[in-house]
């Protein structure tokens, strides 16, 4: 018998951090989609940021662990593909958290073709704020990031790719 409501379960889950970028939670990221109570089972829908994101396994395990500790034994985590995850789902608050963590946040409106193709103009350095920055590599330390360099403070930084 599940005594908690869907909202209470969502609140429990909303503290789970992203395993790669621990300053933002899976709710901030938009990875956590839906929670349903079906009989004695809690079903949780999550959506991957990228097809090959290795964090999805860790996120699944974290969800099961958090709910088990809250006394919910039967948990079914499902990966869903629609609607397709987009960086637009990141809240303003999450963007600011990313910036403070040293990751340049994605631009908004990823439907803009230029943004999809990575033609980002004036990407600000998360350390010094300068827009004199350059792309080092389209692929950074994880699938969701690209590597940049600031030509003012000379620090390298990650940019959360815009998709």
């Amino acid at each position: 018998m599940i005594t908690k409501t869907v909202e209470e379960i969502k609140t429990l889950l909303s503290v789970i951090p992203d395993p790669e970028i621990p300053v933002i939670t899976i709710r901030d990221l938009g990875v956590l989609r839906e929670v349903r109570i079906v009989g004695d089972t809690v079903e949780v829908d999550i959506t991957p940021t990228y097809s090959g994101c290795p964090a999805m396994k860790a996120i699944s395990q974290d969800i099961v662990k958090v709910l088990n500790e809250a006394g919910i034994e039967r948990v079914n985590v499902k990966e869903i593909y629609q609607p397709v995850w987009t960086t637009d789902w990141l809240s303003d608050e999450a963007r600011e958290k990313l910036r403070l963590y040293g990751i340049a946040p994605p631009e908004k409106t990823s439907s803009d073709k230029n943004a999809i193709l990575g033609k980002v103009k004036h990407l600000a350095c998360p350390h010094c704020g300068s827009i004199d920055t350059e792309l080092v590599s389209q692929f950074g330390s994880t699938a969701c990031k690209a590597l940049y360099r600031c030509l003012s403070c000379l620090e390298p930084f990650d940019h959360f790719k815009c998709i």
């Binding site: 990228y50 090959g52 593909y81 590599s137 389209q138």
Partner: protein, 252 residues
């Protein structure tokens, strides 16, 4: 073959191609020309293997025989794989890998863009995600194709040799089973002939900027749809599947 088997085989064709290409790219890990390109190859490989994983998961549902994604990837033999011949070719030098990648990425962008409109919700969802990723991959592989093709005399010659070697496998990308046409008619599958011209145009433009010449007398190789592969796939599978063969039922 009933409709369920046809769909199962159709999904395998897409999944196998992405898995094998992803495996080939992952071979660059530890061998890349520079750190950034190691990351790029590994990241792209992750996307492709991730796509394969989602597709295999769906294939096991369609099949309904209790097999898992791992069973499909690790416990089938060469003749049961339907991947594009292009994807299984050995990685060659870095330019060879980037050129092959560009040919495959250009195909993927157009293929997924069409599959996004599939009447099958799972396939269209996977395709929508993969489409975004493929655009990103294509941008990377095209830029290397251009840079190395239009680079030094040495890099140009190597890229031209790579193109001469790879071009004969490009017809096979578009091969379709007669049974798949039924899936096309019901709006589930994509008719590859519908975007073949667009693919050729796009690839030609990149190759032109790379100052490379498409071979005109290539003898087109086929057979992947019947599980007939070049000799290289067997060796790839022997390596990729060795752990699962040695320790049956192993799980991460």
């Amino acid at each position: 073959m009933n409709k369920q088997e046809t769909l199962f085989n159709y999904i395998l064709r897409i999944a196998d191609s992405q898995l094998i290409l992803g495996h080939r790219l992952s071979e660059w890990t530890g061998h890349g020309p520079m750190l950034e390109e190691e990351l790029a190859s590994a990241n792209t490989a992750l996307d492709l293997i991730g796509q394969a994983n989602s597709l295999y998961a769906y294939a096991t549902q369609v099949e309904g025989k209790g097999r898992t994604e791992d069973d499909l990837a690790y416990l089938r033999s060469e003749r049961e794989f339907f991947n594009h011949l292009l994807s299984e070719q050995p990685r060659g030098d870095f330019g060879f890998s980037m050129l092959r990648q560009m040919l495959c990425d250009a195909f993927d962008v157009l293929f997924y863009s069409a599959l996004m409109k599939s009447s099958d919700n799972t396939l269209s969802g996977i395709a929508a995600k993969a489409y975004k990723e493929s655009q990103y991959h294509l941008r990377h592989s095209s830029s290397w194709t251009e840079r190395l093709g239009d680079g030094t005399e040495e890099s140009h010659q190597r890229m031209q040799n790579s193109l001469n070697e790879l071009w004969r496998f490009t017809d096979d990308l578009f091969a379709m089973r007669a049974a798949d046409l039924e899936l096309v008619n019901t709006g589930i599958a994509v008719d590859t002939s519908s975007f073949r011209e667009a693919w050729f145009k796009q690839v030609s433009e990149v190759l032109e900027r790379a100052t490379l010449t498409i071979p005109t007398h290539a003898f087109m190789q086929k057979g992947s749809l019947e599980g007939r592969h070049t000799e290289h796939l067997g060796y790839l599978l022997a390596e990729m599947q060795s752990l699962h063969r040695a320790i049956p039922g192993v799980k991460w």
